[in-house]
């Protein structure tokens, strides 16, 4: 076979891929992978900016967590002021948010996930991202079935065999795990090129708004709110700077 020849002097089963492989197989697969990754243009759904209410809720949570974690740096009057701000029965920020959330019925929050435009955008996104990859992957599997494209210069554990030798299962355990099959090369290229091609800086004039709400789910936020209220009710105050003057004297 033109794609391999044995060098029995060095070790059994040593396969040295031909230089023509680099042009006809490796480069072809890499180009196909690059084309597939380039096709993953994000579908232009209207960018839904977070509402003021969701920004506020997120900010309350972050502020509460930061305050609780650093409460020991504040004097007692400031700490009590903040405790009142967060967990006062009538006006506390966390308590008010919790009440607002409990007003929303579970069906209402679930229905927000099944809105038609949300499902449509998700389906289109999946088709655009995964569809071309599957089509090209199937083509590569049929065209380059059984090809070994390269040998890795470093040792690879046995657990990576199925990842690096997709389509070469008939050889079994005899082949060194360092050899990479054509299909595996395609899959690894896809993931590698996604990181290189798709993560480049996109021109986004919205960069100034740095407090975009994270993608935490509503259920997670509710849990965090309740947790924060519990934390505030049970927190014990201790001022870190109570004996700072005596500590300084000891240091001197």
């Amino acid at each position: 076979m033109w794609w391999c020849y044995g060098t029995l002097q060095e070790e059994p089963w040593r396969i040295v891929p031909s230089s023509e492989l680099l042009i006809w197989v490796v480069l072809s697969i890499t180009i196909m992978a690059l084309v597939t990754v380039s096709l993953q243009i994000p579908i232009k759904t209207p960018s839904t900016r977070p509402s003021l209410a969701s920004i506020r809720k997120d900010a309350i949570l972050r502020r509460s967590i930061a305050t609780r974690n650093n409460a020991s740096l504040l004097p007692k009057d400031q700490f009590l002021c903040r405790k009142h701000l967060f967990v006062d029965e009538s006006q506390g920020l966390l308590v008010q948010q919790d009440k607002e959330d409990s007003d929303v019925t579970p069906m209402k929050s679930l229905s927000s996930l099944v809105k038609p435009h949300f499902i449509r955008s998700k389906v289109l996104e999946n088709i655009a991202n995964i569809g071309p990859q599957m089509v090209v992957g199937a083509w590569i599997r049929s065209m380059f079935h059984g090809y070994i494209v390269c040998r890795l210069p470093f040792w690879v554990p046995e657990t990576f065999r199925s990842m690096l030798q997709s389509g070469m299962e008939m050889i079994g355990q005899h082949l060194d795990t360092r050899y990479v099959s054509g299909l595996s090369w395609y899959i690894v290229s896809i993931f590698g090129l996604q990181g290189l091609v798709l993560d480049k800086k996109e021109v986004n004039m919205d960069r100034g708004s740095e407090w975009q709400v994270g993608s935490s789910s509503e259920i997670q936020t509710k849990m965090l709110l309740k947790q924060e209220i519990q934390w505030w009710k049970t927190i014990e105050y201790h001022w870190k700077l109570e004996n700072i003057e005596q500590q300084q004297q000891q240091q001197q």
Binding site: A66, N70, Q78, V203, D206, I244, E245, Q248
Partner: protein, 313 residues
């Protein structure tokens, strides 16, 4: 030997005009860089110019004389990166500075064609009116922008900037507080609020704002020092004790800051006036400690005599 200083008026997004001194060497370097940008071949010019504009933007240098001659290169650029659009924005500010409406309109139209209507365009238009001191028109632009883009923090900040320019600090504090009810974790806004309250002599509110800064950024020793100074400004015995503790904490974090030792000296001196402090053994010791460290820091300085005079009093 002190070098000669040239003052530059800096326009910052923090709605304050602060004067930053650029020494002659930096000025010459800037002009040399500008000459290099003007003279090199077209291929390398674009990158150099964008880099030059990024430098001017990062250091908030307001130099329309250096920016406007290089704008012609921006017209030909096809590679639209983030730096390119920031350079366009900078060019718009420079054009507004010298009332060059043609270039300003060109920049705004370019941004609008690419990004459509967005908050940055509103800010650009509002800043144009602010530069011309037409605050009413600027406020109207920001109001319209906030109606379309209510979660754009920069537009709220520009409203505060206008109120500060008109010396309406009380209203500026109110607007900023309303903004902070939503964007509670904005450190920059809390620090702005601190300075507004200090200007208005509202020390308790300022202390609350500074403690908020401490909570958001506990590793920044300067906020602790600021809180100590605010408590010192409040003046009563308990506040002075708290201020002294914070000064000691800053001494632990930052041993080479003369300001903290000076503050500690003043606080201990103020505490001496209270009869209760005669039982406080720490006060005298901390006074000596602050004096010793101040003298040590200024040991080789021309101002040592002033420090010794201060300590002796």
């Amino acid at each position: 030997m002190p070098s000669t200083w040239a003052e530059e008026t800096i326009f910052t997004n923090k709605a304050q005009k602060i004067h930053v001194c650029l020494n002659c060497a930096d000025q010459m370097e800037l002009i040399a860089w500008f000459r290099e940008c003007s003279s090199i071949s077209a291929r390398k010019q674009i990158d150099k110019i964008v880099e030059f504009f990024s430098y001017l933007r990062t250091h908030s240098l307001r130099r329309p004389d250096l920016i406007l001659p290089l704008i012609h290169v921006l017209r030909d650029i096809k590679d639209e990166t983030v730096e390119y659009w920031e350079a366009i924005e900078l060019a718009a500010f420079a054009a507004a500075d010298v009332s060059n409406y043609a270039i300003f309109d060109w920049c705004c139209n370019k941004v609008k064609q690419r990004f459509g209507d967005n908050w940055r365009l509103h800010r650009l238009l509002g800043l144009f009116h602010e530069i011309r001191l037409d605050y009413k028109a600027a406020a109207a632009v920001y109001e319209a922008g906030l109606a379309k883009f209510p979660n754009s923090p920069e537009l709220y900040k520009r409203q505060v900037a206008i109120l500060k320019s008109l010396n309406a600090y009380e209203q500026a504090a109110t607007v900023l507080c309303n903004y902070l009810e939503t964007f509670m974790c904005d450190e920059e806004s809390w620090s702005e609020l601190v300075y507004i309250y200090m200007y208005l002599r509202k020390y308790e509110e300022a202390a609350f704002a500074v403690s908020e800064l401490i909570v958001l950024a506990p590793s920044n020793w300067f906020y602790f020092l600021l809180l100590a100074e605010i408590y010192y400004a409040m003046g009563n015995y308990q506040c002075l004790l708290t201020a002294r503790k914070y000064c000691c904490y800053v001494c632990k974090l930052q041993q080479n800051c003369p300001r903290v030792y000076y503050d500690l000296l003043l606080i201990c001196r103020s505490l001496e006036k209270y009869p209760r402090s005669s039982k406080d053994v720490n006060n005298e010791r901390l006074l000596q400690y602050a004096a010793k460290h101040l003298k040590q820091l200024y040991k080789y300085s021309y101002y040592l005599y002033a420090i010794e005079d201060l300590v002796r009093k």
